[in-house]
């Protein structure tokens, strides 16, 4: 689903290039495998099924948020409000579930409301950026302040717990398999279908060259709005996972994840300038961040140094990823 295949020069390097054009997430996959191996070397237990599903349940939220970010980055936009949307959805579903008694019907209703809220936020972003033509970075920062205000209005202080049925399901097992594994498989299926969808191709086309896309008849503004709407939906899904993981409401919970989602998208091989990338790459990018964090822990870094080592490792991974993908594309 790489956007445009440029003419291939040479024979041997051409194959690698074609492979990369087709699968832009390959460098991320290599980094991921290396990190997994390193994790295995330093802590053999960390590769057990139990440990890996634990990692999954912690980082599923960031994976979804990165996918959300990826769809707007496809069109060379950016969304600095994904974290705020996730926070808003988190507190909204917590309050809805609490008000309705916390039974299964109330959970389902809350999830529906949560998706609607995410969609509405995404549409608002899309209208502000694509229809009103404001600059995405500053405009989505402004909307993130607005969404944070809304989240604080819904739930002024952190702490309201989620009903037991919610987090027990998320953290529990179904037919002996952890629930998050089903979620991951579901995500893989959705991403596969979306990758083959017309919208994904249109987003990449707009990101590659908006003017050309417009001149060949694509409704550029509408496509960008759809991209933001999709982003809002995935941010809502991320909020469900945050809620399942933390089992409580916090109006500021997602704020710190916004910039990580941008980093994950870049780590996954998407070009911030748009037109090139995959959503699965964003998932791999989020996993890379998760594995870096756990590796830093497993090699025995003193606790006060962990953030610095993580920061350095992510910076290096970003640089290496960008340089490798440029070399492969050039």
């Amino acid at each position: 689903m790489a956007s445009v295949s440029s003419p291939v020069h040479g024979a041997a390097p051409g194959r690698l290039k074609r492979l990369f054009e087709r699968y832009p997430f390959l460098p991320a996959l290599v980094i991921l495998v290396v990190l997994l191996a390193l994790n295995g070397v330093f802590a053999p237990n960390s590769l057990s099924f139990r440990a890996l599903t634990g990692l999954l349940s912690t980082y599923l939220a960031l994976m979804l948020l990165s996918v959300a970010q990826a769809y707007v980055v496809f069109a060379s936009d950016i969304d600095l409000s994904v974290g705020a949307i996730a926070s808003l959805v988190n507190v909204t579903i917590i309050v809805v579930m609490q008000q309705l008694g916390g039974g299964v019907p109330s959970v389902l209703l809350a999830l529906a409301v949560g998706l609607a809220v995410g969609l509405a936020c995404g549409l608002a972003n899309g209208i502000v950026v694509a229809a009103l033509r404001l600059q995405p970075i500053v405009a989505t920062f402004a909307t993130s302040i607005f969404f944070t205000g809304l989240a604080l209005y819904v739930l002024p202080v952190a702490g309201t717990p989620a009903p037991a049925v919610f987090w027990r399901t998320y953290g529990g097992r179904l037919l002996g398999v952890p629930f998050v594994v089903y979620l991951a498989l579901g995500l893989a299926l959705v991403l596969y279908l979306l990758a083959r969808s017309r919208l994904a191709t249109q987003l990449l086309a707009v990101g590659d060259d908006a003017q050309a896309a417009y001149q060949s008849g694509l409704p550029v503004t509408l496509i960008r709005i759809k991209g933001y709407a999709l982003c809002g939906l995935f941010a809502a899904l991320a909020a469900f996972c945050i809620t399942g993981d933390t089992a409580s409401g916090d109006p500021l919970v997602g704020g710190k994840m916004t910039l990580l989602s941008v980093a994950a998208v870049v780590l996954g091989g998407c070009a911030l300038s748009g037109g090139f990338g995959t959503a699965i790459g964003a998932v791999l990018g989020a996993l890379i961040i998760g594995l870096i964090n756990s590796l830093v822990f497993f090699v025995g870094t003193p606790s006060e140094w962990q953030n610095l080592v993580q920061g350095l490792a992510i910076l290096v991974a970003l640089m290496v990823g960008i340089m490798v993908s440029r070399r492969a594309r050039a």
């Binding site: 033509r133 909307t143 205000g149 209005y153 060259d209 920061g311 910076l315 970003l318 960008i322």
Partner: protein, 331 residues
């Protein structure tokens, strides 16, 4: 990179000429006066001399950070510096520990902070030029490193204290009733205006910002320029960090974070588009004052935090409509 493909060579679209009224600086100034009047109406005394002075001190802190941000953005190629907040925090800690409450240590502290800021800025610049990492990614990664570094430093050493002379400089009247920091900001404004309008260096910033390739062909040392711009951004953030220490007395965790995105908004409100190549610092100064007054009004008004944030976010969006919007596809 997409710089060459996205750079449009379409002629500037003919615009409605309302004379100077449409200049961003004028827009910002009109809004500032209007907001001051609104503030005075909402809470008498808001526009008093002392209050305005207090606002200007806060605006100066933001404005100094925005000076570096402005330079990086003017230089184009998606120039942006997300690491300024981290540098401000780091600089405040370094300054606090080097001077540790003694006036004699101020010079040494300034030296140490400027060197620190320049170092991180130069790293950003080198990553952006030599390794060709997009500025957003490079400075985002650097922000992560800086935040980690802050955790390490914070565990090992106390936060440090501002020297009395520094606090006086920032908060007490210095000359003609204005504190030293406001004079410093005015001086920075004058130097920036002079450099941008009258020097080769300044003209080259606009040149690489509006068409990097053409500038390169004309012999502008594009890479050196860009490294210089990022280095200056680090230096300005470091200076703001020292002043922030003087303002608050001691440094505390992540004081600088609040400057990251507002510094970008101040630049945009000042009429410099994120695409670079156009605009200047005078507008950014007005933009910083505008932002600070807006925030101050919202704290004066008796609404709770949630309402304040919603009004702030919505107002920012409305204000952005006054400034340069993207071009339409049809143009």
């Amino acid at each position: 990179m997409s710089a060459d493909t996205t750079r449009s060579d379409a002629p500037p679209r003919p615009r409605l000429r309302l004379g100077a009224l449409k200049a961003p600086v004028v827009v910002a100034l009109i809004l500032i006066v209007a907001l001051l009047a609104l503030g005075e109406a909402l809470s008498p005394g808001f526009a008093s001399f002392e209050q305005i002075l207090r606002l200007l001190i806060v605006a100066a802190l933001l404005g100094i950070v925005a000076a570096g941000q402005n330079l990086v953005i003017l230089g184009g190629r998606e120039g942006i510096d997300l690491s300024v907040g981290g540098v401000v925090s780091l600089s405040a800690i370094v300054a606090g520990n080097v001077m540790n409450g003694a006036d004699g240590g101020i010079a040494m502290a300034i030296l140490a902070c400027v060197a620190t800021g320049a170092l991180f800025g130069a790293f950003n610049g080198l990553g952006v030029t030599l390794l060709r990492i997009p500025p957003l990614v490079m400075t985002l990664g650097m922000l992560g490193v800086l935040q980690g570094l802050l955790v390490v430093i914070r565990q090992g050493i106390p936060s440090g204290r501002a020297a009395p002379a520094l606090s006086e400089f920032v908060t007490r009247p210095f000359l003609l009733g204005l504190p030293g920091i406001i004079w410093l900001w005015i001086a920075i404004g004058l130097v920036m205006a002079f450099v941008l309008k009258r020097t080769v260096f300044g003209h080259r910033i606009y040149a690489i910002g509006s068409n990097e390739h053409a500038a390169y062909m004309a012999g502008v040392p594009v890479r050196t320029m860009r490294v210089a711009l990022f280095t200056l951004s680090g230096v300005f953030a470091a200076i703001a960090g020292i002043c922030l220490l003087g303002y608050s007395g001691s440094s505390f965790a992540n004081v600088g974070e609040q400057y990251m995105l507002p510094s970008i908004i101040a630049v945009v409100f000042g009429g410099t588009p994120l695409a670079g190549g156009r605009g200047g610092y005078t507008g950014t100064m007005a933009g910083a004052v505008l932002l600070v007054i807006l925030q101050s009004i919202l704290t004066t008004v008796n609404i709770d935090e949630s309402g304040r944030q919603m009004v702030f976010g919505a107002t920012l969006l409305v204000l952005m409509l006054f400034y340069g919007r993207g071009r339409t596809m049809r143009a």
